[in-house]
């Protein structure tokens, strides 16, 4: 039930319902059980005592009854003895007979009376109903051998016999021998009535009363069916003990049943009265109480079960619902229906749960948007953002996709385990430095920055600038490095151009001082060259005059000079001189620093003027006719005027036109040559775009095009300073920007940006 994914050790869990059931059952049942046991124990004790006491009392009462019962015939016999002793000699045999008969007749218990003589022979017989036939049978019977008679003779006191079956009535009987001088009076007493007495005593009760004689023979018993029962109880320990020691109470097992019995003595014949009841019977109230308690326990259990079932259902149902909700929450489902719990605590829990879900949802939204913000921030950065996991085998992780643009490699190239290490693409000259910087940063726990050349997928090296910072874990060990890498190739190149331009500036400053000194000899060379060329001309009259006076055939001389290429050599001198002059002029351009010629200029007008100049420029016409080039202008309306040096801007534009026109003229195809000129404002800059449809140039050339002395033109066609001067004029003097972009075969575009407000430094 408990979905504890966070617990680190699996703990054995228990069902709430079972625990509740066990606990509640224990709390209700244990006191109940203790009470039950205590009560039952007490009751059992009490019942045993009660039963024992009751039994003993009964036994005594029965004993008393029996004694009283036997006392009547005993008294009769004693009276007879007294009569015998006092009146024996005065009574005739006949009278004696009658006295005996009447005595037997009047006593319901005495069956018969024998008078024995000294030898133990019956001399007189008293019988009820004057049964003379029977009397004659008894007469002269020898009874002296009877044990009780012998005892009576010896002890000279009355002795009871054992019980026997009467030959007269066939019923259980008993004899009492009473000695009277030379005679022995023996009374036979029927004790059959004792049995009925006992039976009458407990007709419905479960109590059994039994009378046993001295031998342990059962004389009478309240047990209805003595069949199959042993008629002798002498083996019963209770009986044995009672015979020896008097009254006793004990429990015993008889015929497979447990009995609780008490024994009382009947003194005169030495009998015992056993009153017993089965312990089943004796403990009946205890059992009834137990039954009561048992039902109480069962009811308690049932009620407990019911209570637990209902309660646990009310507790578990919401818990299960919470569990489901928590699971749904984990999946991001925050809009689960609310439950209606029974218990206030669970209701609070439900409210808290709902509150928690809301807060989590809010937090997740906040987190998501924050994460989104960070992700888009990282993603939009024009730099590689990375994380280098030092612990995980220096695994490189890119946080944005700029690396694709900057390195030209796709996502897996560096990050895959079998991929190419990033550092492998670093320029061999920079490699060791790169590795050392990184190691140093990790070792010294310091942020680092470095520059290196990186081989782009296109095979060209780019300059990267990297700034990184080691990040530490709790143990102050570097876990990873976070960093950014910028592509500073363009900036580097611009810096180089500026650096070179600045060099040129210093050279220019030097050249300005020397310009006069250089220009003069150049003038000497060029002028003389031209003069020589002119003086060799065979058509000029002055030359012909001098030739005539010196007797030289100019035509022949001409022919000779041509044959020996001397004229070309002269032209070569002239061209070289002119080129030298041009270089000096360009270098001097770097030295013109003053802004005194700056003024507000309407750029479209300035462009128009420059185009006019280009069309009329003599130099232009040497190789191509600018007038054959189509010019398409798109000038933005209301373009603000720009603060600039018009002559210098014209120089720049002219240079671009010249380069473009030259490039287009070198193309073999006969397409219409075209310049597209656009002007527009963007923020606080005004841009001029000049696009030709010439052959364009590869990127390698684009990158170097602004470098001083870089040229693709044939020797003599350009100094290689033109565009570097342009760049210098725009970037340095006007604080503007100048860029070139080109696709080979599709033309070249120059973009010049001039700030509206030039800083007046």
């Amino acid at each position: 039930m408990a979905n504890s994914s966070v617990s680190n050790k699996p703990r054995p869990t228990r069902s709430l319902r079972r625990s509740l059931l066990l606990n509640l059952t224990a709390t209700t049942l244990i006191p109940l059980l203790i009470l039950t046991v205590a009560v039952l124990y007490y009751l059992t004790e009490r019942a045993a005592e009660d039963v024992a006491g009751q039994n003993l009392l009964l036994a005594r009462a029965i004993s008393g009854q029996i004694e009283a019962f036997l006392h009547a015939p005993e008294a009769s016999l004693f009276n007879l003895r007294n009569l015998h002793l006092t009146h024996k000699n005065s009574l005739s045999s006949q009278n004696y007979q009658e006295i005996l008969d009447s005595l037997t007749e009047s006593s319901p218990l005495i069956e018969s009376i024998y008078i024995l003589d000294h030898q133990g022979q019956i001399t007189e017989v008293g019988l009820a109903h004057k049964n003379d036939n029977l009397r004659s049978e008894f007469m002269r019977l020898q009874l002296g051998h009877q044990k009780f008679i012998k005892q009576a003779w010896q002890q000279q006191k009355p002795v009871w016999s054992d019980t026997f079956l009467s030959i007269i009535t066939g019923k259980t009987s008993l004899s009492l021998a009473v000695p009277a001088n030379d005679r022995m009076i023996v009374g036979n007493i029927s004790i059959d009535q004792i049995n009925s007495f006992l039976l009458n005593l407990h007709q419905e009760e479960q109590i059994e009363s039994t009378i046993v004689d001295r031998q342990g023979e059962i004389i009478a018993s309240s047990r209805q069916s003595p069949n199959g029962c042993p008629s002798n109880l002498r083996n019963l320990s209770l009986i044995r003990d009672a015979k020896e020691k008097g009254e006793r109470t004990a429990s015993y097992r008889f015929q497979g049943k447990l009995y609780l019995g008490s024994v009382a003595q009947i003194k005169s014949p030495g009998w015992l009265t056993l009153v017993a009841q089965t312990s089943d019977n004796a403990y009946q109230p205890v059992r009834r109480t137990s039954l009561f308690f048992l039902s109480a326990i069962f009811i308690t259990l049932a009620v407990t079960f019911l209570v637990v079932f209902i309660t646990s259902k009310r507790i578990i149902a919401p818990i299960k619902l919470f569990s489901n909700q928590a699971r749904a929450l984990a999946e991001g489902d925050y809009d689960r229906q609310q439950l209606t719990p029974v218990y206030s605590e669970i209701a609070t829990l439900a409210d808290d749960f709902q509150h928690m879900a809301r807060r989590i949802a809010e937090r997740e939204t906040a987190l998501t948007s924050s994460e989104e913000a960070y992700r888009t921030l990282a993603e939009n950065l024009p730099a590689i953002v990375y994380r280098l996991h030092i612990r995980h085998n220096n695994h490189l992780q890119f946080m944005n996709s700029e690396y694709l643009h900057m390195t030209g490699f796709d996502s897996d190239h560096f990050t895959a385990t079998d991929g190419c290490p990033f550092e492998n693409m670093i320029h061999p000259d920079d490699h060791s430095n790169f590795v050392n910087t990184l190691r140093g940063a990790i070792h010294k726990h310091r942020p680092f920055s470095q520059e290196y050349r990186f081989k782009h997928a296109d095979g060209e090296y780019r300059t990267f600038f990297e700034k990184g910072c080691p990040v530490f874990d709790k143990n102050d060990e570097v876990s990873h490095i976070d960093g950014v890498i910028f592509d500073i190739t363009e900036r580097k190149r611009a810096e180089e151009i500026i650096l070179q331009s600045e060099k040129m500036l210093s050279v220019g400053g030097l050249a300005a001082g020397m310009a006069h000194e250089i220009n003069n000899p150049l003038a000497g060379i060029l002028q003389n060259c031209q003069l020589i060329r002119r003086r060799l001309n065979a058509t000029l009259t002055r030359n012909l005059d001098v030739a005539e006076t010196t007797k030289i055939d100019l035509k022949q001389l001409q022919h000779y000079l041509e044959q020996r290429n001397i004229l070309q050599m002269l032209d070569a001198i002239r061209d070289s001189g002119q080129r030298a002059a041009k270089i000096v002029e360009n270098i001097l351009d770097f030295s013109r620093k003053s802004q005194k010629d700056f003024s507000l200029q309407n750029l479209p007008e300035l462009i128009e003027k420059t185009l006019d100049l280009a069309r009329s420029d003599y130099d232009f016409h040497k190789d191509f006719d600018f007038r054959n080039i189509e010019i398409i202008c798109h000038h933005e309306q209301n373009l603000p005027e720009v603060h600039c040096d018009p002559a210098q801007i014209q120089q720049v534009l002219l240079n671009i036109f010249k380069n473009g026109a030259q490039a287009m003229s070198e193309q073999d195809d006969h397409n219409l040559h075209q310049f597209q000129i656009c002007t527009y404002q963007q923020q606080d800059m005004v841009y001029i775009e000049i696009t030709d449809n010439g052959p364009g140039m590869p990127s390698a050339i684009q990158k170097r095009i602004f470098e001083p002395f870089f040229t693709t033109k044939k020797v003599g066609k350009g100094t290689g300073l033109g565009l570097s001067v342009c760049y210098f004029i725009i970037a340095e003097k006007h604080h503007g920007s100048m860029k070139v972009s080109s696709t080979p075969g599709q033309g070249t575009k120059f973009t010049i940006g001039l700030p509206l407000q030039i800083s007046t430094e």
Binding site: P521, G524, I525, L588
Partner: protein
């Protein structure tokens, strides 16, 4: 050298650099100019003191007095005299004084001239104005 006919246009070339001075002299003579030459401003003024000239082609940086100092002096000597400046200096702008005596930016030529015909044309223009 002097042919001495009165209609010939007289040009005084002032330049301390012999190769320039002489080649220019020779070149202009081919175009029927009567050319005098001086290697310094002082020498030129001396020469102008003695004989009239139509045009002066003057360098600026000269051993003693500079060309632009000399021009106003020469103008005082011969008010009809015209001037062309042929200089190796870069970025030269006419001073107010020179503008006042009638000089124009066109009259300034920078060495080295890729074609001396430019100078010849300029001379012709200047002379045709008077």
């Amino acid at each position: 050298m002097l042919r001495g006919y009165p209609l010939q246009r007289r040009v005084l070339v002032i330049d301390d650099e012999a190769s320039i001075r002489e080649s220019l002299t020779e070149f202009l003579e081919d175009f029927e100019f009567q050319v005098s030459a001086a290697a310094s401003a002082e020498e030129a003024l001396e020469l102008l003191n003695e004989q009239p000239q139509d045009v002066v082609v003057a360098d600026l940086r000269l051993p003693g007095m500079s060309g632009d100092t000399m021009i106003p002096l020469a103008h005082r000597l011969q008010p009809n005299l015209r001037f062309l400046i042929h200089t190796g200096s870069v970025g030269y702008h006419l001073s107010d004084e020179l503008t006042r005596i009638g000089m124009q930016p066109d009259n300034v030529m920078f060495k080295p001239l890729s074609d001396m015909m430019v100078l010849v044309n300029n001379l012709e223009n200047l002379l045709s104005q008077s």
